[in-house]
């Protein structure tokens, strides 16, 4: 059976591993990937837990299409409560880890608790071993990869691991896979480090069953021919910014490059403006002509030494400690949002796209629809950029056909969109439970007043003020079936058949 897939629950504190089959009803409700991750976290995460304490569970997931002919476009998802944002976050990376995980027999892995000593996990053909990593702890990313490869005697395995930054629980430490793709934003490396896990290696040669192999080959082949030109290859998440030399160092330490780049730029400006002085930086001169300064600062952050200790907590916390309106110098809000949100605030990005202009007042409905498709893509764990176009109907039909050919599950369009809303509702519930602040999604006036790239190069761009924007937000929540205080309605939970998750069920009835 194509969907007879396994989930592993690993309790590191008790060194216990439970393996069970993923129920078919979960597939119908959430498909897999992000939706199922949110559901699992909702069930296994104690309310109000500290992201860096053993209570915070982490789910690593392969979507529905790992190991299939779509696998080149699949991503591996990592979900946990983020130490940077204090919300449930979902971070993904490209590469073949998800496929290898499926060939090794698992679709989802949930890690709980904390190991007493450093360990790494070795997943192979339906078994999971917790192995000692005392000798590897402290090594940088390339050395870790070499050491683990040597220990498991595998020339060709897929692996994720953390560097010293993750071990030291830097709040924007990332998880790096084989060639340098990373689950970068939201500090998943710190969560893995807090569990004393150095890495996870995976090899497998088990079958991944495909429902209709002949038809898949035929259909995919036709799809392949219709794609024009060559695809993007070996795309690298770690683009170098101003401090491109330091990007190599960040990769070795396992820190999110975009966040470090933004922080370095910010700190150098603060130093120029004399908001921070030599006393604060403990003697480190942060002049632009001091070539070693950035290098040293990155090292200090990764090892939580000196001034780096303040910066390791993330820009918002660091700004509080530095004081003197330091956050105003962070540059655009866009940059801060990039660090603290997994996606840029979409409404603003959408309205001024030159190629496909939407009127401001049509935004809520349009975005709600697009968001549903993105949610479905996340539930399937595929990279949406290459596979979906701008025609909603076409995209949905393609997804339905892919699911049917590969797994045998038949979805109607309505059902598929419902799975998206269902996953989103659970995630929203989790957000509200963990973080009261997100009830009133904060939106600063500053964000709207600072022009972004699209405005600078686009003559007929549409202006928008905060009041108008807030009106649109209310409309948008309406389109997504939320009520005024951004809560998902109980009625919606009932119609989505997940009313058992509703927290105030006893009170309401």
């Amino acid at each position: 059976m194509a969907l007879n897939r396994k989930i592993a629950y690993i309790d590191l504190s008790k060194k216990k591993i439970d393996i069970s089959t993923i129920p078919a009803v979960w597939r119908r409700r959430f498909i897999g990937g992000r939706g199922l991750d949110a559901y699992l976290l909702y069930q296994h995460m104690p309310a109000g837990c500290d992201p860096l304490k053993p209570g915070n569970p982490m789910v690593i997931s392969a979507g529905l299409f790992g190991g299939t002919l779509v696998s080149a476009d699949t991503v591996t998802g990592i979900a946990a409560k983020s130490p940077l944002t204090n919300r449930m976050e979902y971070s993904t990376f490209n590469g073949l880890f998800a496929s290898e995980m499926r060939w090794a027999g698992f679709d989802h892995i949930l890690i709980k608790g904390r190991s007493k000593n450093p360990v790494y996990l070795f997943i192979q053909n339906g078994t999971i071993e917790i192995r000692d990593a005392d000798g590897i702890w402290g090594q940088n990313i390339p050395d870790t990869q070499k050491s683990i490869c040597k220990e498991i005697h595998a020339d060709d395995c897929r692996m994720i691991c953390i560097g010293p930054a993750g071990e030291n629980k830097i709040r924007y430490a990332n998880i790096i896979t084989d060639r340098g793709d990373a689950a970068g934003r939201t500090g998943m490396g710190a969560v893995l480090g807090s569990k004393n896990i150095k890495g996870i290696a995976c090899t497998g040669n088990m079958d991944v069953e495909i429902k209709h192999p002949e038809e898949v080959l035929k259909w995919q082949n036709e799809k392949f021919k219709s794609v024009d030109g060559e695809g993007e290859f070996r795309e690298n998440n770690q683009e170098g910014g101003l401090f491109s030399k330091e990007s190599v160092l960040c990769r070795e330490f396992g820190m999110d490059l975009k966040t470090v780049d933004a922080i370095l730029n910010w700190i150098f400006v603060l130093y120029e403006q004399e908001i921070i002085t030599d006393k604060k930086t403990k003697g480190l001169r942060l002049n632009r002509d001091n070539h070693g300064a950035a290098h040293e600062l990155v090292r200090q952050i990764a090892s939580k030494e000196g001034f780096g200790k303040i910066l390791a907590e993330g820009p918002l916390m660091a700004a509080k400690k530095i004081g003197k309106n330091a956050l105003e110098y962070f540059g655009t809000m866009d940059k801060l949002a990039e660090i603290y949100m997994e996606r840029k605030p979409e409404p603003l990005k959408q309205i001024n796209k030159p190629e496909k202009k939407i009127s401001i007042n049509d935004l809520p409905a349009t975005i709600s629809r697009r968001k549903a498709i993105h949610c479905i893509m996340d539930n399937l764990a595929i990279n949406s950029r290459r596979l979906i176009g701008s025609d909603d109907k076409n995209d949905l039909n393609m997804i339905i056909r892919l699911i049917e050919l590969n797994t045998g599950m038949v979805f109607r369009e309505k059902d598929l969109i419902e799975t998206a809303y269902r996953g989103y509702a659970v995630e929203r519930l989790l957000c509200l439970r963990e973080d009261d602040a997100s009830k009133n999604a904060p939106m600063s006036d500053q964000y709207l007043s600072v022009p972004d790239e699209s405005e600078l190069f686009n003559n007929d761009h549409q202006d928008i003020d905060l009041k108008h924007f807030k009106g649109l937000i209310t409309k948008y929540y309406g389109a997504r079936h939320w009520n005024k205080s951004n809560m998902v309605k109980l009625k919606i939970f009932e119609s989505l058949e997940i009313s058992d998750l509703w927290p105030h069920r006893a009170v309401k009835k």
């Binding site: 080149a72 020339d155 060709d156 060559e230």
Partner: protein, 162 residues
């Protein structure tokens, strides 16, 4: 009649394993790289990928060592094939192949190798990076000739300025 051969260019391979998935789907009906007739080897977890499949050698070592003469040459497609009525699964051909292109299927208990999908290899249809190609064997050298020739002209064609 001149025949076509399957060639692989490691320089272009991105290691996406789609060829392996397509091959195992076509031949075994499941997705499993271990059951594929073509292999992509990732060297030492570096960014180097080496696709390897049967070369259908003119003087094939596997054919020479087979004690039951089960390996024969199919003249029509110029390919090396296994006759499973004669094969005793002794795995001598696996050891003899200098490319390691013959695979032992542990489930079906028999050796398997590339048969060029009867003249229309499934793997090349899914190679997005164009690392795999199915070319006429007399034209094999042309990509290399072109590459070297371009070095002499500095990558420019005659009469084109700039």
């Amino acid at each position: 009649m001149s025949c076509r051969v399957l060639v692989a260019d490691p320089k272009k391979c991105t290691g996406c394993k789609l060829c392996q998935i397509a091959c195992s789907l076509k031949k075994s009906g499941v997705s499993n790289p271990a059951k594929s007739r073509i292999r992509v080897i990732n060297h030492n977890n570096q960014n180097v990928y080496l696709p390897v499949s049967c070369r259908h050698c003119e003087d094939a070592p596997c054919m020479g060592v087979c004690p039951k003469e089960a390996i024969y040459r199919d003249e029509k497609l110029e390919r090396v094939m296994v006759d499973y009525d004669k094969c005793i699964s002794c795995r001598t051909c696996v050891a003899a192949c200098p490319y390691g292109a013959i695979v032992f299927d542990a489930v079906k208990k028999r050796v398997v190798k590339c048969d060029l999908c009867d003249g229309s290899p499934e793997c090349i249809k899914f190679c997005d990076a164009n690392a795999l190609d199915f070319v006429d064997q007399t034209l094999l050298q042309y990509p290399r000739i072109r590459e070297t020739a371009l070095k002499f002209t500095g990558g420019k064609r005659r009469g084109v300025r700039g």
